[in-house]
């Protein structure tokens, strides 16, 4: 560990650290690698949906209404004669956009609130945290539904709402991390030599919370994707003609599913595969960057990795 940090002092540290993590991912975490492949695949499908989809997302084939899966329509068609395969492909784009941007916003908000609370501390922290407490007592999905009804459905509204909601909830974790950093000697030293607040925040605190930020980002993406699809499913998300995976399972489609069960199958399957992949990838990233964040309380916390456990008696270093 010490050896690596000394290596990281030179300029190309970000790059070497990145490839280091990537190599360890493939070597140590087979499930994480599978997750990474799924994540990259979904990202690819989402970005190039326009080229990959054989038909338009709202293109209707009026003579092919509710056709079972066939060579022409691999996943069948829905009650309006739209190709489900193409819609599932376009759905990946929505999930990717919402998952990444909303989580990005939420991480920015968590970091801002968390760093402010952690750094300023005192009464400010106390008051803000009471509000965060109260906010976290309101069940997320119901709160999201209420806010969507306020601002109206739509992709950007959903992204911003999910971002704010996740951001407030996640600020607790960032705050704890900043509090931990404040205890360190190097921060005391920076304060003692009279560094400005800006320097302390950008040069001392930010670099040290970068790993947790990446971890929180990768761990929150699947939850955000699920929240979006859940909202769209209830009719409070991305409005109907857009092929959101959650939305494809709801509304009018539900009455036709009994005649065309394939309509119920594919969007949910795509969603499950994506959430599975991103989840696995996020877990692996967390284990590689900072296994302490795995959870657990006090001395119950997991400190020894599973594989190390077997040979811990021989090489306990």
């Amino acid at each position: 560990m010490a050896e690596k940090s000394s290596k990281n002092k030179n300029g190309k540290k970000a790059r070497s650290k990145f490839s280091d993590v990537a190599i360890r991912l493939i070597k140590e975490k087979p499930l994480g690698t599978v997750g990474a492949v799924i994540t990259l695949f979904m990202l690819f499908v989402g970005i190039f949906a326009g080229w990959l989809a054989p038909h338009g997302m709202n293109e209707m084939f009026t003579s092919y209404v509710m056709v079972p899966p066939s060579a022409q329509f691999p996943f069948g068609t829905d009650n309006l004669g739209r190709d489900i395969f193409s819609r599932v492909i376009y759905g990946a784009r929505i999930s990717v956009i919402v998952g990444l941007t909303a989580t990005f916003i939420s991480v920015v908000i968590s970091t801002t609130i968390g760093v402010m609370c952690g750094y300023i501390g005192g009464k400010f922290d106390l008051i803000v945290q009471r509000f965060v407490d109260a906010f976290m007592c309101v069940p997320g999905l119901v709160l999201l539904m209420v806010i969507v009804s306020m601002v109206g459905p739509g992709m950007w509204q959903i992204i911003i709402i999910l971002g704010i909601q996740g951001g407030i909830g996640g600020s607790r974790m960032m705050r704890g991390i900043v509090f931990g950093i404040k205890e360190n000697t190097y921060l005391q030293a920076a304060l003692a030599i009279g560094d400005s607040t800006w320097i302390i925040l950008t040069r001392h605190i930010l670099p040290n919370i970068l790993a947790p930020i990446i971890i929180i980002f990768s761990m929150n993406v699947p939850g955000t994707i699920l929240a979006e699809s859940g909202l769209s499913f209830l009719g409070f998300g991305i409005p109907p003609p857009n092929p959101s995976w959650g939305g494809m399972l709801s509304g009018d489609a539900r009455t036709y599913m009994f005649q065309a069960p394939w309509m119920a199958l594919w969007p949910g399957l795509a969603l499950s595969v994506m959430v599975y992949g991103v989840n696995m990838f996020g877990d692996a990233v967390r284990d590689l960057l900072d296994p302490r964040l795995r959870g657990g309380v006090g001395r119950y916390g997991v400190k020894v990795k599973r594989k190390d456990a077997a040979n811990s008696q021989t090489s306990n270093s």
Partner: protein
């Protein structure tokens, strides 16, 4: 212990107060308010003048400053009066009395089923650590986390009806009238909700059991010649339970969201469907009441989780 409980309950008061403030302000921030909706609704029958608008606002009690409105609302709730539904003009409390038990039953059944799935598989997975069975169990746990409950529920409604012509009952059967019919109605939604909860618990159970099974006192228990069941349940699981309970407690918010989704799929007339209907018709008094009740139940759940630690681990003292 009693002093601790009393102090915790007193500490709940400011939290609940803040929650109520957040809910009230949030709902008042909604732009297209219900008065506009009512005006346009009544407007189709004739001309609505400024006077009618004032009358509607007065009838809703919205013609006074917002802090007085908040005071009235809070005062009513303290006295068990959640106000009236804006559209139906019936006291909300009557609706809540019917719907709350449905959601509560669904939630409790889901928690029980979730643990019945999670704990045995999690323990098995830890005991057979790194074997085929462990890998299958772990993949199962990940699957439970990844698969959204509304998809499983949709499949569970669509496919049985196509294959066997089975439909879950559509009207609510009261537990007091027909317990078996009631359980027949609730087992499927509760199972799906419970499955959604169990993935996380299963993983935590496995991790904690692995941790505890390495401890010296477990080795002692084995070498005393105790039965496997005693070692695993009495010595290991009991000591692994605290983080597991933390995880279960942390899932309550998601569980409430889950009941909203599952109720709307299985046509259960619970709080979730009440909330969805109220939001779509902009019935804000009902929305605030539902949000408040959901939030207070979360606060109570958190308290119960904290109190459970003391029962699990007698070393924890509350003072």
């Amino acid at each position: 212990m009693r002093a601790y409980i009393i102090r915790r309950i007193l500490l709940m008061i400011p939290t609940v107060f803040l929650v109520s403030l957040i809910i009230f302000v949030l709902i008042r921030m909604i732009p297209g308010n219900v008065v506009d909706m009512m005006v346009s609704e009544f407007g189709t029958y004739g001309n609505v003048t400024q006077v009618d608008r004032k009358a509607i606002e007065h009838a809703l009690g919205w013609d006074v400053p917002i802090y007085i409105q908040y005071g009235r609302w809070l005062n009513g709730i303290v006295h068990g009066d959640f106000g009236k539904s804006l559209w139906k003009q019936v006291p909300i409390i009557e609706d809540l009395k019917v719907r709350w038990p449905v959601t509560l039953e669904l939630g409790i059944l889901a928690i029980i089923i979730g643990q019945l799935i999670a704990l045995p598989i999690g323990v098995y997975s830890a005991l057979r650590h790194d074997t085929g069975g462990d890998y299958i169990a772990r993949s199962f746990a990940i699957l439970l986390i990844a698969v959204p409950s509304f998809w499983i529920a949709t499949l569970a409604i669509v496919y049985p009806s196509i294959w066997w012509g089975y439909m879950p009952p559509l009207t609510l059967i009261q537990f007091t009238q027909d317990p078996i019919g009631n359980l027949k109605m609730f087992w499927e939604p509760a199972l799906i909700l419970g499955m959604g909860m169990s993935g996380m618990t299963m993983r935590m159970t496995r991790t904690m059991m692995l941790e505890v099974l390495r401890q010296d006192y477990i080795r002692t228990a084995w070498s005393k010649g105790l039965r496997e069941r005693t070692v695993v349940i009495r010595h290991a699981l009991k000591n692994a339970l605290i983080p597991i309970v933390t995880i279960i407690g942390g899932q309550m918010g998601a569980l409430i969201g889950g009941t909203v989704i599952i109720e709307s799929i299985f046509n259960l007339p619970g709080m979730g469907r009440l909330t969805i209907n109220a939001i779509s018709t902009r019935d804000y008094t009902v929305v605030s009441a539902c949000l408040l009740i959901f939030s207070v139940s979360l606060v109570v759940f958190n308290l119960l989780t904290d109190l459970t630690y003391g029962f699990i681990d007698p070393r924890i003292h509350y003072n």
